[in-house]
Symmetry: none
Subunit: 211 residues, 2 copies
DNA sequence: CGCTATATATAAGC
DNA sequence: GCTTATATATAGCG
């Protein structure tokens, strides 16, 4: 009997020519990458940050405990630190991103809130038809302008939240994070997505899945 | 005939207890992750940066075209951006407990993990001794009342954000680098490994492979 | 997006 | 590190 499909086929490691295929591949692989990163964090309690810019120039990022924390640390380590330079470099053929274990709590919280929201929404706009929150709205459903607003909003939101967190004395960033067995247990995560720069006015391109 | 080995075995998605195994797994998976990232870049011409801190606190990073370029861009976008700038970058949206739409798969994974967790929860502590932010606190640890408060906070926060966002009404990005086919070909595997900060006073640990 | 049939990634071992 | 037997990730399609 003829096989229903050919199954996965080997592909050359070169830029995919067909735009459509490229887009779908990007989406799938980005997801896979994030998952891998997530698992790495969960399994080993490692910390990681990943920043990816799609061909369509949208930026996706993830970090555990947060993108910023990891990046900051990286920056701090790479830049300053005159004297001792314990650093070493290896060469590898990859780039990677780490994701943290998408905290289940998060999902749960989101869900609950969503639930809560469904009841008395409309406070924001009319957007939350299907998404828990406006910020979870599929980017593709937003116009360029809306997208920008979205981004701006998120920016502010972030700052606010962080400020609040600081107030609440809940941030543990003071020193640095060290991954201890316990912390990894209650993994947290941070996922970011933003539009890098599709921002050209007439840019009338479509964005398939998540490119 | 008896199989020489049992082959790959399925493992629980939780922190690996045995230190030795954890170390091995970290090394292998980090490598795999980097490879995946590399492939993503090559196949789709995307840009990416990855920073990983091992349980042993060593930092590994990779970036295409370079860690810095990607990170810088990210930082530029995420950091404050008072007003207009010549060629600004995109604004970031990271942080906060914003689960981007894109990780439905994550959600899925999360769900599974969560399911698993439900069984033996309570492991999480009440306070954020090791947790990054309050909002990342396991909701389970919150009482109904606290939950309500939490939700309320988010609500307010959201409104503020929206208001503010409307005021600002700007923030945008512009160009950025785009990887061209050629560049992606010669993927600059710039893998930097640097000692993050073994710098802890008594840190008398051993570092097996690359942990 | 959901499905296969395969190409890969890897948990145990040695 | 290097192998082997499986668990996963996914390319091509509908």
């Amino acid at each position: 009997m003829m096989k229903k499909t050919q199954g996965r086929k080997k592909i050359e490691m070169k830029k995919i020519p067909k735009t459509t295929n490229l887009q779908v591949t990007f989406s799938k692989r980005r997801a896979g990458l994030f998952k891998k990163a997530s698992e790495l964090c969960v399994l080993t309690g490692a910390e990681a940050a990943v920043i990816v810019q799609s061909p369509g120039n949208r930026v996706y990022a993830f970090g555990h405990p947060s993108v910023d924390s990891v990046v900051d640390k990286y920056v701090a380590g790479s830049s300053s630190m005159p004297e001792q330079k314990p650093a070493i470099n290896e060469v590898d053929v990859n780039s990677a991103c780490v994701i943290d274990k998408f905290n289940q709590e998060y999902i749960e919280i989101t869900k609950k809130i969503e639930e809560e929201k469904r009841k008395n929404v409309d406070v924001v706009k009319k957007e939350t038809d299907d998404g828990p929150f406006w910020w979870e709205q599929p980017i593709k459903d937003l116009g360029e302008e809306e997208l920008e607003e979205y981004i701006a909003s998120m920016e502010v939101l972030r700052n606010k939240v962080i400020a609040r967190a600081n107030d609440m004395h809940m941030i543990r960033n003071s020193s640095m994070f060290n991954v201890d067995d316990e912390s990894s247990k209650k993994v947290d995560k941070l996922l970011v997505t933003r539009n890098a720069a599709a921002s050209r006015k007439e840019h009338g391109g479509q964005s398939p899945s998540s490119i």
